[in-house]
Amino acid sequence: MLKTLGDRLLTTLPALVGVIVVSFLLTRVLPGDTAAYFAGPAATPQAIAEIRKELGLDRPLPEQFGRYVANLSKGNLGQSLTTGQPVLADISARLPASAELTLFGLVISLLIAVPLGITAAVKQGSAIDHACRIVATAGVSLPVFFTGLLLVYVFYFLLGWSPAPLGRLDVFFSAPPAVTGFYLIDSLLDRDWETFRAALSQILLPGTTLAIFALAPIARITRASMLAVLSSEFVRTARASGLGGRTVVMTYAFRNAMLPVVTTLGMVFSFLLGANVLVEKVFAWPGIGSYAVEALIASDFAPVQGFVLAMAILYIVLNLLIDLTYGLIDPRVRMGA
């Protein structure tokens, strides 16, 4: 197991190097002049030149790259010009916010999508199957910002059930002491029920927005892979042996159908993490997606590179975890490795 882990980690190194080089080059190739942007209104050409010099943007590209890598090796991702803070601090403050939101959304959607997919497959062509299809189609075809705004309009503006969409916590609460960076977990660790409730009520709407979006791929894949497994011979054998419907479906069929679901889950997670920019904007969620987009608009290189790097590392870790989970679900994968 450890050896597999080590081997897998080694193979990721070239990918990381690639990511570093490409993200560096891409940000430099993009049109836009950081110095002119940050010189602000009424800047003279001299002022812009001074800023360019201070940011080291007047140096040749190889030198800039050398500096970037040297800093990177010291764990320094550079300074963000848009927030004025070190990129590492920004990312470590914002990544947990995005991760918590995404995981929360994913858990909600799993709780709904997997049973829905299974039932749809077991009772193919029934009303539930059609409902599953409708939910999935609606989920993918509604853009997230639209669902988000709609939920805000209905549950906050019209009904008043949800608190104001002001970010992770209401203004009169302070954040729980940071352990994991997840407010829901940290407030529980701190036994602070009020803050937990406040954090939960804030995350409910954005989490649901993401869940609606993630519902579709998970439900469809669960249904498809369950259908494939249910028509296979070992299920027929199990049925013929007189095993109960529940045992057949849950113990035999579902476990075998889980591999594609887990794969999709990994993809949906990393996709949501980067792509929930619009949800973050609507709910004022201080996450990493909106951070990266704002930096990109301002041609602020360091945060963009930091974001790409963080995402690459996260993706690698996630894939590793998924591969290891395969081994747990399906012994054949373990043997093969």
């Binding site: 002049d33 010189a39 602000g40 209104p41 803070q85 969409p165 970010g167 203004v171 009169f172 041609s299």
Partner: protein
Amino acid sequence: MTLTRRTALAAGLSAPFVGKAAAQAPSRNETLLLVQEYGPNSLDMQGIGASQPVNGVALNCYDRLLRFKPVPIPGGGGNQVSMTELEGELAESWQVASDGMSCTFKLRDAKFHSGRPVTAKDVKWSLDRAVSIGGFATTQMNAGSMEKPEQFVALDDKTFRVDFIRKDKLTMPNLAVTIPFVFDSELAAKNGGGDPWAKDWLKNNVAGSGAFKVESWKPGVETIYVRNDAWASGTLPKLRRVIARDIASPSTRRALIEKGDADISYGLPPKDFKDLIDAGKIKVVGVPIPNAAWGLYLNTQVGPFADVRLRQAVAWALPYDKILQASLFGRGVDLSGGPETPKPAWPQPYPYRTDGAKAKALVDAATPGGFATTLLFDAGTATVAEPMSVLIKEALAPLGINVEITKVPGSNFRGEIAKKTNPMVLNRFAGWLDYPDYYLFWTMHGANSIFNIASYQNPELDKLIDAARFTADKNGYEKEVVSFLSLAEREVPLVPISQPTHDVAMQKTIGGYQFQPCREPDFRYLTKG
């Protein structure tokens, strides 16, 4: 199961474990919740790359020698400022020398947040810093003829003098803008870590004597201000605490203000302000932004608009009223159909108005058959600029001018206008100091600043602008302004379209609204309840 802010506050007051901030929270009537698109990226407005909201930090947490006198907004709803009337902030009194070449300030007994008294030495350090640090701060200081540290003299602890290098009517008002504010120089030097201007430390810390202190600052999330109870430079503010949250989505900001959860909302699209005014539940205070105009810049050096007839044709063709209604939703002042002879003011309507026949005749004389060209604008201003450019495109099509619209993000936009090769650019420029010569210096003078987007070069205009900038004679000044404005109207390198309104939406319980030229909220005057 729902948690409103009221129950949350009640819980906060009764349950100490909720958190320190909530437990000590001043009553709801003394706490203001402001929602804005984005917050400060630094706490030091003099620093390089400081964003627009940093002005608010400078305004509320630091003091200057002088401030602009509040005067009522003609339409009601609060105060704006008078550029020509100044009040003492840190200065108790001041006296311009009889030769008009220096000004001596007597400082009042004020204390920094650290408890140290404010001395003339601190004022000198801060102004030296502003003229030496480079970037926008230095540019702004230079605009008021404050160029070198030798101009600033600390005579004793309480007496400070500014020596003028030339007579410039902008010098005194420029001491009241958000750049020449006063730092606690000893605190800064102690924490500067070898940097004489303590740039890194002041970026993250406030070392001022202003009416508010920054209690917590999370870039991109929120800034919390608390009142400085020992503030000596003015009437103690009514608000004890201000929470400024960054809410990127304008729809969310509008929902928050309509629902009553936010007290004040900045930066909504004009349409939302119009809707809020029509609905009547929320107070909207609008001030036509002094020295600001949406304008169409026509490149006078390269491309078709080097021909003045085509520039005039465009000025005759623009659908001014339609633009005001459809892109600004009436939240602005039309800048067309003005008198033949301009008044000494900026912005003001040019004599052009929508007249297709006149435009067509000019185009036919210059380029029969028309031509194709491009129109550029900043994607960051798209809410207003996009409908505006579409209307322009539609209006120019019958003249045979085929316009292709290009929208670029902010950082590219600066680069594009710096090239000065785009034939047509739509931009909104606003100068802090409300003088016509100041505006035209940036947008049309041969010094060719980045905002002279039309790349207009005319020694005659330069001479008139320079003369007006440095004259002391009021009548002569007005005559020069009228002559350079007439010249600009004939030559139209810039077609002014509308003067935008600066709108702020607030609950009806909020009073004391104060508009500042930097356009950031001034918490010092605001009241609640």
